[in-house]
């Protein structure tokens, strides 16, 4: 995008040896998955196991890498891993099993790398618990329910805790602070005070939550500020929000053509960490739609009018020059010139002046500072 939106100062200059926290935001809307399965033959269980392989691959890169899974469910956001410490940790699917069965399962899993097993067990158990607590009627009434803004917010606050020690990347301010940061964290810290890198992967099957525009945008800007890429794996219905999220934060945006091969997309597109990404050409979407729609007729605009107080967008000057949103009487004088052609002479003059002033250096022009009134 551009500099104000932070893309240009999105640089990966941080030292290489920091570990990475991978946050996976997974849509768990059952109805949306059921609809998706019909069209693509990728079922949720298979997608989940492919995601867990992806998470394990991430964990395998480094011992200090971490992973968190957040479910974006119909009734809100739930941490699948790390699981909510309050709740019952038993897997509802294993309640009926006899101790012998459990022992058998444990023996089957005995040769598995412990970190993998812990993550898998936790995610599966929390997911079963989540589904067990879901009201089937609520599922049918909300085919598109999604708490994207909440999931992103939760992911960012969690990152803030894990990667920045709760400081929100603000430590670069006071010179004396940095030393104390190193001490308190007890580990390596880069110049913004982060102890780990982070990236967010959103696996989405639901359309944009239209009523969450502002919160989603706020989350995107926060991610941009913390320099956290939001990767998007959009399995169904392309969305503007997530396109903008990936674009603004420098993440990867993919819409897999063959969802059955989800794992391959995940491994190739989303697995590289911040360092590897510097040397890779990643699949990103280039034509992101940034145009605005006016408040009055909902037309998509190229050129519009914006109220200077509340930033409402209009496709034509409102009647009586009163903003329909904030009822402020707007200054109509600039609008009188609207239908006249754009006048060029001032621009010419400016160019000339610029050429004339070329030889002057900055210091010389300072001498010409406006003379005070005598």
């Amino acid at each position: 995008m551009d500099k104000v939106d932070g893309t240009e100062h999105y640089n990966f200059k941080a030292p290489a040896d920091l570990a990475t926290l991978q946050i996976i935001i997974l849509d768990t809307n059952p109805l949306a998955w059921a609809t998706f399965e019909k069209s693509s033959s990728l079922s949720f269980p298979s997608a989940l196991s492919q995601l867990l392989i992806f998470a394990n691959a991430h964990l395998a890169f480094s011992q200090s890498n971490r992973c968190a899974v957040i479910a974006n469910h119909i009734d809100g956001v739930h941490f699948l891993s790390p699981a909510d410490p309050d709740t019952d940790h038993r897997d509802p699917g294993e309640v009926d099993l006899t101790p012998e069965d459990l022992k058998e399962i444990a023996q089957q899993n005995a040769s598995k790398y412990r970190v993998f097993r812990l993550l898998e067990d936790e995610v599966r158990a929390s997911y079963r618990r989540l589904i067990a607590n879901t009201d089937p009627e609520a599922v049918m009434t909300s085919p598109n329910a999604s708490c994207l803004a909440g999931a992103l917010s939760a992911a960012l606050t969690y990152i803030n805790r894990i990667c920045f020690g709760g400081t929100g990347g603000r430590s670069s301010g006071v010179p004396g602070d940095e030393k104390s940061k190193v001490n308190s964290a007890g580990g390596k810290v880069d110049e913004t005070g982060r102890t780990m890198h982070a990236k967010i992967l959103v696996v989405s099957v639901t359309p944009d939550p239209a009523n969450q525009y502002i919160p989603v945008m706020n989350s995107i800007f926060a991610a941009q500020r913390l320099k956290i890429p939001i990767d998007v794996c959009k399995l169904r219905d392309s969305t503007v929000f997530l396109q903008q999220a990936a674009d603004a934060t420098g993440g990867v945006y993919m819409e897999p053509e063959h969802p059955q091969g989800l794992l391959q997309y995940l491994m190739v597109g989303f697995l590289p960490d911040h360092l590897a990404r510097q040397s890779l050409i990643l699949p990103t979407k280039v034509d992101v739609d940034f145009r605005a729609a006016c408040f009055c007729h909902k037309k998509v605009l190229d050129v519009g009018f914006v109220c200077s107080v509340c930033l409402s967008i209009f496709c034509e000057p409102p009647e009586g020059a009163i903003c329909s949103t904030c009822q402020v009487k707007l200054d109509a004088t600039p609008l009188e010139n609207l239908n006249k052609p754009v006048v060029l002479p001032p621009k010419k003059k400016k160019k000339k002046k610029a050429i004339d002033s070329l030889p002057e250096s900055g210091v010389a022009s300072a001498a010409d500072s406006p003379a005070p009134a005598e």
């Binding site: 809100g76 909440g150 969690y158 805790r161 502002i214 605005a292 107080v309 000057p317 409102p318 200054d331």
Partner: protein, 526 residues
């Protein structure tokens, strides 16, 4: 003893620093002379001058009965962190489109080393941060940088909306200048005034001065300049690095309708940064005549990708891709900007969205008393466990207190170790010793830790709880502890801002719906 005094002074400059921002000095006084005779500087105390009377951080630490000070320390830390959060969250009209001139002192006074490494280097470093932060907060605003150097005003960067330009200019012009000579407020103000002269009336006109010197050598009468600043409705803020200067105060008061809160003198590096960054928040629009609202014509260009490089019309650089002005199809490489060929303001819709959090600030969260703390065991969003109430496990006070609006401490009867009663009798209203470290959103009643509180209010501008719970769930939780009307925003019925709020909210809803239209051309539901 003289030696120890020396030591106090030296070490306190470092030790005292976080404290300086901390609790109000008023609350410290009583505790100073309280129980710790060993901490008090007994011999020199009587003949100390006021400026020697150093506030010592260890004096307000009250030891618990078990000898632990952990509770107090945590409480103080959280109070420090939270202090800056508690601002008014009533939605107010703010000048979103700003024009600001940043005036940096580059006079010989900046060579002082009272700020590390020097005032000059620290100021430039903060100036860089300021530029970045300013454009993060105000994407459709403009900035210009001026230096006060050797009695003259030195133009560092022109009025413009591109942070990279300003950062380059700072690097090239300001860092290479040796601080020298006197500073001239009048020259700098006149140059700032000249730069702001042609700015449109709907935007704000502001000047922020970083003033290191204690004097100003002016060619004329600065009061004339002040009057013309008032006439041009330019608001001036000043950050003083040394001491309060009368003319600065007058300058700020006159240009801000008699309000001198825009003039601050720094205490230390952290406070300096705080004061400077306070200017990145858009100013509240107070008087009607300050800015005339108007309708701006803006272009929303589309991005294009080219196979081969071409020149952009703004910098004449070879770039691949860029944005095409919808009116004259000139290519610009950077947004927001003014089209160099037809003068149309070009922005992205995301730039507008970035300013919305100034219009709808997130409500302040309230501290949770121990009587309500049982509702949560860990921070909702970052999963950090909360401390449990070790010393107050007596069941009598767990539930029966429904609404302690005044944060009344739990009854101290029946506690075993007596830590809490001691604390509560000393500090009165305040939560004794151990704070709950829980902060609750008044809308969704979710409990958060202090770090999430700060993060949500300063960076995220969302409540993770409100966004994550479905509306039915929030309604179901409506009767839980923090009552909905605790905050000023909802109680402010009747005044004009609230009507504006509802209207803006309605319109935003429309925007939310319509925002979908461009991409998917559907989903404009209900």
């Amino acid at each position: 003893m003289a030696d120890s005094d020396e030591d106090f002074v030296l070490s306190s400059s470092g030790d005292d620093r976080p404290k300086g921002k901390g609790g109000a000095s008023g609350s410290r006084r009583p505790t100073r002379k309280s129980k710790r005779p060993d901490g008090a500087p007994a011999p020199g105390a009587t003949k100390r001058e006021k400026w020697e009377d150093i506030q010592r951080s260890w004096d307000n630490v009250v030891e618990g009965a078990d000898g632990s000070i952990a509770g107090t320390v945590i409480g103080l830390l959280e109070a420090t962190k939270r202090k800056r959060l508690l601002r008014d969250t009533t939605p107010i009209q703010r000048g979103i489109i700003r024009h600001l001139v940043l005036i940096l002192d580059l006079s010989s006074a900046m060579l002082e080393k009272d700020l590390r490494p020097t005032r000059f280097l620290l100021t430039l470093r903060y100036a860089r941060d300021f530029v970045t932060e300013y454009f993060e907060q105000n994407p459709i605003s403009q900035l210009s940088i001026v230096g006060m150097h050797d009695g003259l005003a030195l133009r560092i960067s022109d009025m413009g909306g591109n942070p990279a330009d300003h950062l380059t200019a700072l690097q090239e012009k300001a860092f290479t200048v040796e601080p020298k000579g006197a500073s001239s407020l009048q020259n700098a103000l006149e140059m700032g005034r000249a730069e702001l002269f042609h700015t449109p009336t709907h935007g704000t006109r502001e000047i922020l001065i970083i003033f290191g010197a204690l004097s100003s050598s002016d060619p004329g009468d600065i009061h004339d300049t002040i009057n013309s600043l008032v006439e041009d409705r330019i608001q001036v803020r000043i950050v003083g690095l040394a001491a309060q200067v009368a003319v600065c105060r007058e300058l700020v008061m006159k240009t801000n309708d008699g309000d001198d809160s825009g003039y601050g003198v720094i205490l230390d590096e952290g406070h300096y940064r705080e004061l400077m960054m306070a200017a990145t928040t858009p100013p509240v629009t107070t008087a009607e005549e300050k800015s005339v609202p108007s309708l701006l014509m803006m272009g929303f260009p589309s991005r294009m990708v080219e196979k081969h490089e071409s020149f952009c019309s703004c910098h004449s650089n070879l770039t691949k891709g860029g944005y095409i002005c919808p009116r004259c199809t000139a290519k610009v490489c950077f947004l927001p900007t003014e089209c160099p060929s037809c003068g149309l303001t070009l922005i992205l819709s995301t730039h507008l969205a970035r300013s919305y959090h100034h219009l709808f600030p997130l409500k302040n969260w309230v501290e949770v008393p121990w009587s309500e703390a049982h509702a949560s065991s860990h921070c909702w969003s970052c999963q950090t466990p909360f401390p449990t109430n070790q010393s107050q496990t007596s069941p009598t006070k767990q539930k029966p207190k429904p609404k302690p609006a005044t944060l009344a401490p739990p009854p101290a009867t029946g506690t075993s170790n007596g830590t809490k009663p001691a604390g509560s009798s000393e500090k009165g209203q305040k939560q004794p010793q151990q704070p709950t470290q829980r902060y609750a959103c008044t809308n969704c009643k979710t409990h958060f830790c202090i770090d999430c509180d700060i993060f949500a209010h300063e960076i995220l501008h969302n409540c993770p709880g409100c966004q994550s719970l479905s509306e039915e769930k929030i309604k179901a939780r409506a009767n839980l502890w923090p009552p909905n009307t605790v905050d000023g925003a909802s109680s402010a019925n009747g005044d004009p801002t609230s009507s504006m709020r509802t209207q803006v909210a309605e319109a935003t809803k429309m925007l939310e719906n319509s925002k979908i239209a461009p991409g998917s051309s559907m989903e404009v539901d209900s």
